[in-house]
Protein backbone atom coordinates (compact mmCIF):
# COMPACT_ATOMS: atom_id res chain seq x y z
CA UNK A 1 0.00 0.00 0.00
CA UNK A 2 1.29 3.42 -0.86
CA UNK A 3 1.48 5.52 2.27
CA UNK A 4 0.14 9.05 1.85
CA UNK A 5 2.47 12.04 1.94
CA UNK A 6 -0.10 14.36 3.48
CA UNK A 7 -0.11 12.73 6.91
CA UNK A 8 2.44 12.84 9.72
CA UNK A 9 3.62 9.66 11.40
CA UNK A 10 4.54 8.67 14.94
CA UNK A 11 7.29 6.24 15.84
CA UNK A 12 4.57 4.19 17.58
CA UNK A 13 2.75 3.78 14.22
CA UNK A 14 -0.13 6.25 14.51
CA UNK A 15 -0.75 8.85 11.85
CA UNK A 16 -2.43 12.28 11.94
CA UNK A 17 -3.80 14.38 9.07
CA UNK A 18 -4.65 18.07 9.25
CA UNK A 19 -7.95 18.71 7.45
CA UNK A 20 -8.91 21.90 5.70
CA UNK A 21 -11.35 22.78 8.48
CA UNK A 22 -8.52 22.72 11.03
CA UNK A 23 -9.50 19.38 12.58
CA UNK A 24 -7.08 16.47 12.78
CA UNK A 25 -7.90 12.88 11.85
CA UNK A 26 -5.94 10.13 13.61
CA UNK A 27 -5.44 6.49 12.73
CA UNK A 28 -2.86 3.71 12.75
CA UNK A 29 -0.61 2.79 9.85
CA UNK A 30 -0.94 -0.21 7.56
CA UNK A 31 2.29 -1.47 9.12
CA UNK A 32 0.72 -1.49 12.59
CA UNK A 33 -2.35 -3.30 11.29
CA UNK A 34 -0.17 -5.93 9.70
CA UNK A 35 1.97 -6.36 12.82
CA UNK A 36 -1.04 -6.77 15.09
CA UNK A 37 -2.34 -9.41 12.69
CA UNK A 38 -5.41 -10.96 14.32
CA UNK A 39 -7.27 -7.90 15.64
CA UNK A 40 -9.84 -8.66 18.32
CA UNK A 41 -10.70 -5.54 20.26
CA UNK A 42 -10.50 -1.77 20.08
CA UNK A 43 -11.18 0.71 22.82
CA UNK A 44 -11.68 4.29 21.62
CA UNK A 45 -12.55 7.43 23.55
CA UNK A 46 -15.95 9.08 23.52
CA UNK A 47 -16.97 12.25 21.74
CA UNK A 48 -16.05 15.18 23.94
CA UNK A 49 -13.15 13.44 25.70
CA UNK A 50 -9.81 15.20 25.89
CA UNK A 51 -6.69 13.64 24.40
CA UNK A 52 -3.12 14.61 25.19
CA UNK A 53 -0.13 14.70 22.90
CA UNK A 54 2.08 11.67 23.46
CA UNK A 55 -0.48 9.94 25.70
CA UNK A 56 -2.75 6.99 25.01
CA UNK A 57 -6.28 7.76 23.80
CA UNK A 58 -7.26 4.11 23.50
CA UNK A 59 -6.12 0.57 23.01
CA UNK A 60 -6.12 -1.98 20.26
CA UNK A 61 -5.71 -5.70 20.84
CA UNK A 62 -4.93 -8.83 18.90
CA UNK A 63 -5.07 -12.38 20.26
CA UNK A 64 -1.77 -12.09 22.07
CA UNK A 65 -0.82 -8.43 22.05
CA UNK A 66 -2.17 -5.15 23.28
CA UNK A 67 -1.04 -1.72 22.08
CA UNK A 68 -1.75 1.76 23.27
CA UNK A 69 -3.02 4.25 20.72
CA UNK A 70 -0.96 7.41 21.08
CA UNK A 71 -2.19 10.84 20.08
CA UNK A 72 0.15 13.06 18.06
CA UNK A 73 -1.55 16.22 19.35
CA UNK A 74 -3.65 17.46 22.27
CA UNK A 75 -7.27 18.37 21.79
CA UNK A 76 -10.90 17.34 22.08
CA UNK A 77 -12.55 14.38 20.36
CA UNK A 78 -15.10 15.52 17.76
CA UNK A 79 -15.93 12.17 16.19
CA UNK A 80 -15.17 8.47 16.54
CA UNK A 81 -15.22 6.07 13.59
CA UNK A 82 -17.88 3.58 14.54
CA UNK A 83 -17.33 1.45 11.46
CA UNK A 84 -14.21 0.18 13.20
CA UNK A 85 -15.40 -2.14 15.97
CA UNK A 86 -14.62 -5.41 17.72
CA UNK A 87 -16.76 -7.23 15.16
CA UNK A 88 -15.44 -5.51 12.11
CA UNK A 89 -11.89 -4.50 11.41
CA UNK A 90 -12.27 -4.68 7.64
CA UNK A 91 -12.08 -0.92 7.10
CA UNK A 92 -8.86 -0.80 9.07
CA UNK A 93 -7.40 -3.71 7.17
CA UNK A 94 -8.37 -2.48 3.72
CA UNK A 95 -7.85 1.23 4.10
CA UNK A 96 -5.85 2.19 7.18
CA UNK A 97 -5.35 5.78 5.95
CA UNK A 98 -8.90 6.32 4.68
CA UNK A 99 -12.03 4.54 5.88
CA UNK A 100 -10.03 2.97 8.70
CA UNK A 101 -9.47 6.27 10.53
CA UNK A 102 -10.11 6.10 14.29
CA UNK A 103 -10.85 9.54 15.75
CA UNK A 104 -11.22 13.12 14.64
CA UNK A 105 -10.16 15.85 17.03
CA UNK A 106 -10.22 19.57 17.44
CA UNK A 107 -6.58 20.31 18.24
CA UNK A 108 -5.53 22.82 20.88
CA UNK A 109 -2.60 23.65 18.66
CA UNK A 110 -2.45 22.08 15.20
CA UNK A 111 1.23 22.94 14.96
CA UNK A 112 1.97 20.07 17.39
CA UNK A 113 1.49 17.73 14.46
CA UNK A 114 4.62 19.10 12.81
CA UNK A 115 6.73 17.36 15.46
CA UNK A 116 5.66 13.99 14.03
CA UNK A 117 7.62 12.30 11.26
CA UNK A 118 7.39 12.75 7.53
CA UNK A 119 6.60 9.73 5.39
CA UNK A 120 10.27 9.44 4.39
CA UNK A 121 11.45 9.44 8.01
CA UNK A 122 8.80 6.94 9.02
CA UNK A 123 9.74 4.57 6.23
CA UNK A 124 13.39 4.95 7.20
CA UNK A 125 12.40 3.91 10.72
CA UNK A 126 10.59 0.84 9.38
CA UNK A 127 13.61 -0.12 7.32
CA UNK A 128 15.84 0.15 10.39
CA UNK A 129 13.48 -1.87 12.55
CA UNK A 130 13.51 -4.64 10.01
CA UNK A 131 17.19 -5.27 10.80
Amino acid sequence: MARPDNVRYLESHEWGRLEKDGTIVIGITDFAVEQLNDLTFVDLPEKGDKVTKGSPFGEIESVKAVSDLISPVSGKVLAVNDTVSDDDFSALKKDAFGNGWLIKIKPDNAKELDAAKSKADYEKQLAEEAH
Partner: protein, 465 residues
Protein backbone atom coordinates in the same frame (compact mmCIF):
# COMPACT_ATOMS: atom_id res chain seq x y z
CA UNK B 1 22.80 -37.77 43.45
CA UNK B 2 19.04 -37.89 43.92
CA UNK B 3 17.03 -37.33 40.74
CA UNK B 4 20.08 -36.49 38.60
CA UNK B 5 20.89 -38.91 35.83
CA UNK B 6 24.10 -37.40 34.45
CA UNK B 7 27.02 -39.62 35.39
CA UNK B 8 30.55 -38.32 35.94
CA UNK B 9 31.39 -39.59 32.44
CA UNK B 10 28.37 -37.79 30.97
CA UNK B 11 29.39 -34.60 32.66
CA UNK B 12 32.94 -34.79 31.35
CA UNK B 13 31.67 -35.38 27.84
CA UNK B 14 29.20 -32.52 28.05
CA UNK B 15 31.81 -30.09 29.38
CA UNK B 16 34.01 -31.03 26.48
CA UNK B 17 31.21 -30.36 24.02
CA UNK B 18 30.65 -26.98 25.63
CA UNK B 19 34.36 -26.25 25.58
CA UNK B 20 34.94 -25.45 29.24
CA UNK B 21 37.10 -27.20 31.79
CA UNK B 22 34.71 -27.34 34.72
CA UNK B 23 31.14 -26.61 35.66
CA UNK B 24 32.30 -23.67 37.71
CA UNK B 25 33.57 -22.06 34.51
CA UNK B 26 29.93 -21.63 33.55
CA UNK B 27 29.37 -19.44 36.61
CA UNK B 28 32.08 -16.88 35.90
CA UNK B 29 29.59 -14.03 35.98
CA UNK B 30 29.28 -14.61 39.72
CA UNK B 31 32.23 -12.91 41.46
CA UNK B 32 34.59 -15.61 42.74
CA UNK B 33 34.42 -14.31 46.30
CA UNK B 34 30.66 -14.81 46.36
CA UNK B 35 30.66 -18.38 45.06
CA UNK B 36 30.00 -20.80 47.88
CA UNK B 37 32.85 -23.14 48.70
CA UNK B 38 31.43 -26.58 49.30
CA UNK B 39 34.66 -27.57 51.04
CA UNK B 40 33.78 -25.12 53.80
CA UNK B 41 31.15 -26.82 55.99
CA UNK B 42 30.14 -23.43 57.36
CA UNK B 43 28.76 -22.54 53.95
CA UNK B 44 25.29 -23.67 52.89
CA UNK B 45 24.30 -25.15 56.20
CA UNK B 46 21.72 -27.69 55.15
CA UNK B 47 21.31 -31.25 56.43
CA UNK B 48 22.55 -34.29 54.58
CA UNK B 49 20.14 -35.66 51.99
CA UNK B 50 17.79 -38.46 52.99
CA UNK B 51 16.62 -41.45 50.95
CA UNK B 52 12.98 -42.41 50.55
CA UNK B 53 12.97 -44.72 53.56
CA UNK B 54 14.57 -42.14 55.80
CA UNK B 55 12.41 -39.28 54.67
CA UNK B 56 9.27 -41.36 55.16
CA UNK B 57 10.33 -42.11 58.73
CA UNK B 58 11.12 -38.46 59.32
CA UNK B 59 7.70 -37.32 58.08
CA UNK B 60 6.01 -39.92 60.25
CA UNK B 61 7.94 -38.59 63.24
CA UNK B 62 6.83 -35.05 62.48
CA UNK B 63 3.22 -36.15 62.11
CA UNK B 64 3.43 -37.98 65.43
CA UNK B 65 3.71 -34.46 66.89
CA UNK B 66 0.37 -33.46 65.43
CA UNK B 67 -3.30 -34.26 65.71
CA UNK B 68 -5.85 -33.87 62.97
CA UNK B 69 -9.58 -33.55 62.52
CA UNK B 70 -9.84 -37.35 62.37
CA UNK B 71 -8.55 -37.61 65.94
CA UNK B 72 -11.57 -35.81 67.36
CA UNK B 73 -15.27 -35.46 67.22
CA UNK B 74 -14.64 -32.43 65.04
CA UNK B 75 -16.72 -29.25 64.97
CA UNK B 76 -14.47 -26.58 63.50
CA UNK B 77 -14.91 -24.84 60.20
CA UNK B 78 -14.55 -21.11 59.79
CA UNK B 79 -13.53 -21.33 56.15
CA UNK B 80 -12.07 -24.84 55.88
CA UNK B 81 -14.35 -27.83 56.38
CA UNK B 82 -13.87 -31.45 57.37
CA UNK B 83 -15.67 -32.96 54.39
CA UNK B 84 -15.42 -36.41 52.93
CA UNK B 85 -13.04 -36.62 49.95
CA UNK B 86 -13.59 -39.52 47.58
CA UNK B 87 -10.65 -41.72 46.71
CA UNK B 88 -11.57 -41.24 43.05
CA UNK B 89 -10.19 -37.73 43.31
CA UNK B 90 -6.72 -38.68 44.55
CA UNK B 91 -6.50 -41.44 41.96
CA UNK B 92 -7.13 -39.10 39.07
CA UNK B 93 -5.63 -35.83 40.26
CA UNK B 94 -2.75 -36.90 42.48
CA UNK B 95 -1.44 -40.33 41.48
CA UNK B 96 -1.80 -40.07 37.71
CA UNK B 97 0.97 -37.76 36.52
CA UNK B 98 -0.92 -36.57 33.44
CA UNK B 99 -2.45 -33.51 35.07
CA UNK B 100 -0.26 -32.92 38.12
CA UNK B 101 3.01 -32.87 36.14
CA UNK B 102 1.73 -30.68 33.31
CA UNK B 103 2.10 -26.91 33.06
CA UNK B 104 -0.39 -24.14 32.26
CA UNK B 105 -1.99 -25.10 28.92
CA UNK B 106 -0.26 -22.54 26.69
CA UNK B 107 0.04 -25.02 23.81
CA UNK B 108 -3.53 -26.12 23.23
CA UNK B 109 -2.70 -28.97 20.85
CA UNK B 110 -0.91 -30.94 23.56
CA UNK B 111 -2.97 -29.69 26.50
CA UNK B 112 -6.53 -30.55 25.52
CA UNK B 113 -6.81 -32.68 28.66
CA UNK B 114 -6.22 -29.70 30.93
CA UNK B 115 -8.19 -27.27 28.79
CA UNK B 116 -11.18 -29.59 28.66
CA UNK B 117 -11.33 -30.12 32.40
CA UNK B 118 -10.98 -26.39 33.04
CA UNK B 119 -13.88 -25.78 30.65
CA UNK B 120 -15.92 -28.41 32.48
CA UNK B 121 -14.92 -26.84 35.80
CA UNK B 122 -16.02 -23.40 34.58
CA UNK B 123 -19.30 -24.98 33.48
CA UNK B 124 -19.76 -26.50 36.96
CA UNK B 125 -19.19 -23.13 38.62
CA UNK B 126 -21.69 -21.61 36.19
CA UNK B 127 -24.13 -24.41 37.12
CA UNK B 128 -23.69 -23.63 40.82
CA UNK B 129 -23.73 -19.83 40.64
CA UNK B 130 -25.85 -19.25 37.56
CA UNK B 131 -23.33 -16.61 36.47
CA UNK B 132 -22.22 -16.81 32.87
CA UNK B 133 -18.51 -16.24 33.21
CA UNK B 134 -16.41 -18.32 35.59
CA UNK B 135 -12.65 -18.27 35.49
CA UNK B 136 -10.25 -21.20 35.81
CA UNK B 137 -9.88 -20.55 39.60
CA UNK B 138 -7.89 -18.34 41.96
CA UNK B 139 -5.56 -18.95 44.96
CA UNK B 140 -8.28 -19.13 47.62
CA UNK B 141 -11.52 -17.53 48.72
CA UNK B 142 -9.79 -14.69 50.53
CA UNK B 143 -7.61 -13.55 47.63
CA UNK B 144 -10.52 -14.09 45.22
CA UNK B 145 -12.45 -11.53 47.26
CA UNK B 146 -9.47 -9.17 47.20
CA UNK B 147 -9.30 -9.60 43.41
CA UNK B 148 -13.03 -8.89 43.16
CA UNK B 149 -12.39 -5.69 45.11
CA UNK B 150 -9.66 -4.65 42.65
CA UNK B 151 -11.91 -5.53 39.74
CA UNK B 152 -14.75 -3.50 41.24
CA UNK B 153 -12.44 -0.53 41.37
CA UNK B 154 -11.52 -0.94 37.70
CA UNK B 155 -15.15 -1.38 36.66
CA UNK B 156 -16.06 1.81 38.47
CA UNK B 157 -13.19 3.72 36.87
CA UNK B 158 -14.87 2.95 33.55
CA UNK B 159 -18.47 3.26 34.62
CA UNK B 160 -18.19 6.35 36.81
CA UNK B 161 -15.34 8.02 35.04
CA UNK B 162 -15.18 11.27 36.88
CA UNK B 163 -16.35 10.14 40.31
CA UNK B 164 -13.15 8.61 41.71
CA UNK B 165 -15.03 6.13 43.85
CA UNK B 166 -12.66 4.65 46.34
CA UNK B 167 -14.54 2.79 49.07
CA UNK B 168 -15.13 -0.93 49.32
CA UNK B 169 -17.83 -1.97 51.78
CA UNK B 170 -17.65 -5.27 53.63
CA UNK B 171 -21.21 -5.89 54.73
CA UNK B 172 -21.90 -8.00 57.80
CA UNK B 173 -19.94 -10.91 59.21
CA UNK B 174 -17.20 -11.62 56.69
CA UNK B 175 -14.55 -14.26 57.41
CA UNK B 176 -11.70 -12.42 59.20
CA UNK B 177 -9.14 -14.15 56.97
CA UNK B 178 -10.89 -12.61 53.94
CA UNK B 179 -11.12 -9.20 55.60
CA UNK B 180 -7.43 -9.20 56.45
CA UNK B 181 -6.36 -10.14 52.95
CA UNK B 182 -8.62 -7.45 51.45
CA UNK B 183 -7.18 -4.92 53.84
CA UNK B 184 -3.59 -5.79 52.87
CA UNK B 185 -4.38 -5.34 49.17
CA UNK B 186 -6.48 -2.21 49.79
CA UNK B 187 -3.64 -0.58 51.74
CA UNK B 188 -1.27 -0.55 48.78
CA UNK B 189 -3.99 0.24 46.25
CA UNK B 190 -5.15 3.26 48.23
CA UNK B 191 -8.64 1.79 48.66
CA UNK B 192 -10.68 2.59 51.77
CA UNK B 193 -12.50 -0.32 53.39
CA UNK B 194 -15.70 0.39 55.32
CA UNK B 195 -17.27 -2.30 57.46
CA UNK B 196 -20.95 -2.61 58.28
CA UNK B 197 -21.38 -4.63 61.46
CA UNK B 198 -23.89 -7.47 61.62
CA UNK B 199 -27.14 -6.86 63.50
CA UNK B 200 -28.42 -8.86 66.47
CA UNK B 201 -29.75 -11.65 64.26
CA UNK B 202 -26.31 -12.10 62.71
CA UNK B 203 -27.37 -10.64 59.37
CA UNK B 204 -26.28 -7.39 57.75
CA UNK B 205 -27.94 -4.45 59.46
CA UNK B 206 -30.05 -3.03 56.63
CA UNK B 207 -30.20 0.53 57.96
CA UNK B 208 -26.49 0.73 58.54
CA UNK B 209 -25.89 -0.70 55.08
CA UNK B 210 -28.16 1.84 53.40
CA UNK B 211 -26.19 4.64 55.07
CA UNK B 212 -22.86 3.15 54.03
CA UNK B 213 -23.71 2.73 50.34
CA UNK B 214 -22.97 6.24 49.16
CA UNK B 215 -21.71 7.31 45.75
CA UNK B 216 -18.17 7.00 47.11
CA UNK B 217 -18.57 3.22 47.14
CA UNK B 218 -17.49 1.25 44.07
CA UNK B 219 -18.38 -2.21 45.37
CA UNK B 220 -19.98 -3.98 48.32
CA UNK B 221 -19.28 -7.54 49.41
CA UNK B 222 -21.54 -9.74 51.48
CA UNK B 223 -20.68 -13.24 52.60
CA UNK B 224 -23.50 -15.77 52.61
CA UNK B 225 -23.67 -17.98 54.56
CA UNK B 226 -21.65 -15.53 56.57
CA UNK B 227 -18.85 -16.15 59.04
CA UNK B 228 -21.40 -16.74 61.80
CA UNK B 229 -23.11 -19.37 59.66
CA UNK B 230 -26.13 -17.16 59.04
CA UNK B 231 -27.73 -17.03 55.61
CA UNK B 232 -27.91 -13.43 54.40
CA UNK B 233 -30.65 -11.80 52.39
CA UNK B 234 -28.40 -11.20 49.40
CA UNK B 235 -31.26 -9.82 47.32
CA UNK B 236 -31.73 -7.04 49.86
CA UNK B 237 -28.06 -6.08 49.50
CA UNK B 238 -28.43 -6.03 45.71
CA UNK B 239 -31.47 -3.78 46.06
CA UNK B 240 -29.65 -1.42 48.41
CA UNK B 241 -26.71 -1.15 46.00
CA UNK B 242 -28.78 -0.47 42.93
CA UNK B 243 -29.48 3.23 43.22
CA UNK B 244 -25.83 4.21 43.32
CA UNK B 245 -24.68 1.65 40.72
CA UNK B 246 -22.52 -0.21 43.21
CA UNK B 247 -21.07 -3.53 42.13
CA UNK B 248 -22.30 -6.35 44.39
CA UNK B 249 -19.99 -9.22 45.27
CA UNK B 250 -21.19 -12.30 47.08
CA UNK B 251 -18.54 -14.28 48.94
CA UNK B 252 -19.21 -17.92 49.67
CA UNK B 253 -17.19 -19.55 52.43
CA UNK B 254 -18.93 -22.94 52.28
CA UNK B 255 -19.44 -23.91 48.63
CA UNK B 256 -21.78 -26.74 49.58
CA UNK B 257 -24.40 -24.14 50.49
CA UNK B 258 -24.82 -23.41 46.77
CA UNK B 259 -26.61 -26.75 46.48
CA UNK B 260 -29.67 -25.39 48.29
CA UNK B 261 -29.56 -21.62 48.58
CA UNK B 262 -30.77 -19.13 46.04
CA UNK B 263 -28.04 -18.94 43.44
CA UNK B 264 -25.95 -15.77 43.17
CA UNK B 265 -27.47 -15.12 39.74
CA UNK B 266 -30.99 -15.46 41.15
CA UNK B 267 -30.05 -12.98 43.88
CA UNK B 268 -28.82 -10.58 41.21
CA UNK B 269 -25.20 -10.13 42.28
CA UNK B 270 -22.60 -8.99 39.78
CA UNK B 271 -19.80 -11.21 40.99
CA UNK B 272 -19.60 -14.31 43.15
CA UNK B 273 -16.33 -15.46 44.69
CA UNK B 274 -15.70 -18.19 47.16
CA UNK B 275 -13.53 -20.83 48.73
CA UNK B 276 -13.65 -24.16 46.95
CA UNK B 277 -11.98 -26.36 49.55
CA UNK B 278 -15.30 -28.01 50.39
CA UNK B 279 -15.42 -29.39 46.88
CA UNK B 280 -13.10 -32.38 47.00
CA UNK B 281 -10.03 -30.67 48.39
CA UNK B 282 -8.16 -31.80 51.47
CA UNK B 283 -7.75 -29.49 54.45
CA UNK B 284 -3.94 -29.19 54.38
CA UNK B 285 -3.96 -26.59 57.13
CA UNK B 286 -5.90 -24.25 54.84
CA UNK B 287 -4.39 -24.86 51.43
CA UNK B 288 -3.90 -25.50 48.65
CA UNK B 289 -7.51 -25.48 47.67
CA UNK B 290 -8.85 -22.85 45.31
CA UNK B 291 -10.95 -19.76 45.03
CA UNK B 292 -13.72 -19.59 42.49
CA UNK B 293 -14.66 -16.42 40.65
CA UNK B 294 -17.79 -15.95 38.56
CA UNK B 295 -19.29 -12.83 37.08
CA UNK B 296 -21.99 -11.43 34.91
CA UNK B 297 -20.92 -11.38 31.28
CA UNK B 298 -20.82 -7.59 31.34
CA UNK B 299 -17.59 -7.56 33.35
CA UNK B 300 -15.77 -10.25 31.40
CA UNK B 301 -12.97 -8.02 30.18
CA UNK B 302 -12.23 -6.77 33.68
CA UNK B 303 -12.07 -10.23 35.19
CA UNK B 304 -8.84 -11.57 36.63
CA UNK B 305 -7.46 -15.03 36.01
CA UNK B 306 -7.25 -17.60 33.29
CA UNK B 307 -10.31 -18.32 31.16
CA UNK B 308 -10.84 -21.23 28.77
CA UNK B 309 -13.16 -21.08 25.80
CA UNK B 310 -14.52 -23.64 23.40
CA UNK B 311 -13.31 -23.12 19.85
CA UNK B 312 -12.37 -25.24 16.84
CA UNK B 313 -9.19 -26.62 15.35
CA UNK B 314 -8.32 -25.87 11.75
CA UNK B 315 -10.11 -29.03 10.63
CA UNK B 316 -13.32 -27.92 12.32
CA UNK B 317 -13.13 -30.26 15.31
CA UNK B 318 -14.12 -29.06 18.75
CA UNK B 319 -11.14 -27.82 20.73
CA UNK B 320 -10.47 -25.69 23.79
CA UNK B 321 -8.05 -22.82 24.28
CA UNK B 322 -7.15 -20.07 26.70
CA UNK B 323 -9.11 -16.96 25.82
CA UNK B 324 -8.88 -13.22 26.37
CA UNK B 325 -5.21 -13.45 27.32
CA UNK B 326 -4.71 -9.76 26.67
CA UNK B 327 -6.34 -9.04 30.05
CA UNK B 328 -3.43 -10.74 31.71
CA UNK B 329 -0.17 -9.46 33.10
CA UNK B 330 2.17 -11.29 30.74
CA UNK B 331 0.77 -9.18 27.89
CA UNK B 332 -0.73 -6.10 29.50
CA UNK B 333 2.19 -5.64 31.92
CA UNK B 334 1.77 -2.57 34.15
CA UNK B 335 -1.75 -1.93 32.86
CA UNK B 336 -3.08 -5.34 33.86
CA UNK B 337 -5.92 -5.35 36.37
CA UNK B 338 -4.41 -8.32 38.23
CA UNK B 339 -0.90 -9.73 38.56
CA UNK B 340 -2.05 -13.33 38.79
CA UNK B 341 -0.26 -15.68 36.40
CA UNK B 342 -1.75 -18.99 37.34
CA UNK B 343 -4.78 -20.67 38.72
CA UNK B 344 -5.07 -23.63 41.05
CA UNK B 345 -5.85 -26.03 38.21
CA UNK B 346 -5.29 -29.24 40.10
CA UNK B 347 -7.61 -28.14 42.90
CA UNK B 348 -10.20 -27.11 40.33
CA UNK B 349 -9.88 -30.56 38.78
CA UNK B 350 -10.55 -32.07 42.20
CA UNK B 351 -13.67 -29.95 42.50
CA UNK B 352 -14.91 -31.06 39.10
CA UNK B 353 -14.43 -34.74 39.96
CA UNK B 354 -16.16 -34.18 43.30
CA UNK B 355 -19.15 -32.46 41.73
CA UNK B 356 -19.48 -35.04 38.96
CA UNK B 357 -19.01 -38.00 41.30
CA UNK B 358 -21.76 -36.78 43.61
CA UNK B 359 -23.78 -35.49 40.67
CA UNK B 360 -26.88 -33.36 40.54
CA UNK B 361 -28.81 -35.34 43.17
CA UNK B 362 -25.91 -36.44 45.33
CA UNK B 363 -24.69 -32.89 45.77
CA UNK B 364 -28.10 -31.82 47.05
CA UNK B 365 -28.18 -34.82 49.41
CA UNK B 366 -24.80 -33.85 50.82
CA UNK B 367 -26.20 -30.44 51.68
CA UNK B 368 -29.43 -31.89 53.06
CA UNK B 369 -27.51 -34.21 55.37
CA UNK B 370 -25.51 -31.25 56.66
CA UNK B 371 -28.69 -29.30 57.28
CA UNK B 372 -30.35 -32.17 59.16
CA UNK B 373 -27.27 -32.78 61.29
CA UNK B 374 -26.94 -29.07 61.95
CA UNK B 375 -30.54 -28.88 63.16
CA UNK B 376 -29.94 -31.87 65.42
CA UNK B 377 -26.75 -30.32 66.77
CA UNK B 378 -28.49 -27.00 67.48
CA UNK B 379 -31.21 -28.78 69.37
CA UNK B 380 -28.75 -30.99 71.27
CA UNK B 381 -26.23 -28.31 72.21
CA UNK B 382 -28.76 -25.68 73.18
CA UNK B 383 -30.45 -28.17 75.48
CA UNK B 384 -27.30 -28.08 77.62
CA UNK B 385 -27.99 -25.80 80.58
CA UNK B 386 -26.37 -22.42 80.08
CA UNK B 387 -25.98 -22.80 76.33
CA UNK B 388 -28.06 -21.01 73.72
CA UNK B 389 -27.86 -19.82 70.14
CA UNK B 390 -26.04 -16.49 69.91
CA UNK B 391 -28.15 -15.34 66.97
CA UNK B 392 -31.79 -16.19 66.54
CA UNK B 393 -34.32 -15.20 63.97
CA UNK B 394 -32.19 -15.87 60.90
CA UNK B 395 -31.59 -19.24 59.26
CA UNK B 396 -28.23 -21.04 59.30
CA UNK B 397 -26.79 -23.59 56.87
CA UNK B 398 -24.12 -25.83 58.43
CA UNK B 399 -22.52 -23.49 60.94
CA UNK B 400 -23.95 -21.65 63.92
CA UNK B 401 -22.73 -19.76 66.96
CA UNK B 402 -23.48 -20.87 70.50
CA UNK B 403 -23.26 -18.66 73.54
CA UNK B 404 -21.82 -20.75 76.37
CA UNK B 405 -19.01 -19.75 78.72
CA UNK B 406 -15.41 -18.71 78.08
CA UNK B 407 -12.54 -21.14 78.48
CA UNK B 408 -14.26 -24.41 77.59
CA UNK B 409 -11.89 -25.40 74.81
CA UNK B 410 -9.33 -27.40 76.76
CA UNK B 411 -11.88 -29.32 78.77
CA UNK B 412 -13.54 -30.48 75.58
CA UNK B 413 -10.27 -31.38 73.85
CA UNK B 414 -9.48 -33.66 76.77
CA UNK B 415 -12.67 -35.54 75.96
CA UNK B 416 -11.56 -35.84 72.32
CA UNK B 417 -14.02 -33.20 71.24
CA UNK B 418 -12.73 -30.30 69.14
CA UNK B 419 -15.74 -28.12 69.89
CA UNK B 420 -16.71 -24.97 68.04
CA UNK B 421 -14.07 -22.37 67.31
CA UNK B 422 -13.82 -19.76 70.13
CA UNK B 423 -14.86 -16.37 68.76
CA UNK B 424 -13.33 -14.20 71.48
CA UNK B 425 -11.01 -12.55 68.98
CA UNK B 426 -13.60 -12.05 66.25
CA UNK B 427 -15.28 -9.06 67.78
CA UNK B 428 -16.41 -7.32 70.93
CA UNK B 429 -19.01 -9.05 73.04
CA UNK B 430 -18.17 -12.48 71.72
CA UNK B 431 -16.63 -13.91 74.87
CA UNK B 432 -17.95 -17.39 75.47
CA UNK B 433 -19.17 -17.75 71.90
CA UNK B 434 -18.21 -20.68 69.70
CA UNK B 435 -18.63 -21.19 65.96
CA UNK B 436 -19.80 -24.78 65.44
CA UNK B 437 -19.46 -26.46 62.03
CA UNK B 438 -21.20 -29.63 60.86
CA UNK B 439 -20.58 -31.67 57.72
CA UNK B 440 -21.75 -34.99 56.30
CA UNK B 441 -18.81 -36.54 58.16
CA UNK B 442 -20.21 -35.52 61.56
CA UNK B 443 -22.13 -38.38 63.17
CA UNK B 444 -24.96 -38.36 65.67
CA UNK B 445 -22.55 -40.01 68.09
CA UNK B 446 -20.08 -37.11 67.62
CA UNK B 447 -22.81 -34.59 68.36
CA UNK B 448 -24.03 -36.50 71.39
CA UNK B 449 -20.48 -36.69 72.70
CA UNK B 450 -20.04 -32.95 72.18
CA UNK B 451 -23.28 -32.22 74.05
CA UNK B 452 -22.25 -34.49 76.90
CA UNK B 453 -18.76 -33.01 77.19
CA UNK B 454 -20.22 -29.51 76.94
CA UNK B 455 -22.68 -30.23 79.75
CA UNK B 456 -19.83 -31.49 81.90
CA UNK B 457 -17.68 -28.46 81.13
CA UNK B 458 -20.53 -26.04 81.77
CA UNK B 459 -21.16 -27.35 85.28
CA UNK B 460 -20.81 -24.53 87.75
CA UNK B 461 -20.68 -21.88 84.99
CA UNK B 462 -23.15 -19.02 85.14
CA UNK B 463 -26.25 -19.72 83.11
CA UNK B 464 -26.67 -17.47 80.07
CA UNK B 465 -29.97 -15.68 79.76
Amino acid sequence: MPFIQNTEADRAEMLKAIGVGSIEDLFKDIPANLRLKMSDPGMLKLPKGKGELEVTRHIQELLAKTKNAGDYAYFRGGGIYNHFVSTLIDHIALYDGSFITAYTPYQPECSQGTLTFIYEFQSSITALTGLEVANASMYDGASALAEAMMMGKHVSEDRHRKENRNTFVLAGAVNPEYMQVCKTYADVAGIKIAQVAPGADGRVDGNALAKALTRKVFAVAVQSPNYLGVIEDVEAVVAAAKENEILVVQAVGEALSLALLQSPAESGVDVCVGEGQSLGNHQFLGGPAFGFFASKKEWLRKMPGRIVSETKDKDGRRAFALALATREQHIRREKATSNICTNQSLCALRALIHLAAWGKQGFVELAEHSVAKTQYAIQKLTSVPGVKLAHTGAPVFNEFVIQAAPGLEKKLLKKKVAGGLPLDKYGKGRRGQYLVAITEVTTKADIDRYAEALAEAMKGKPVAV
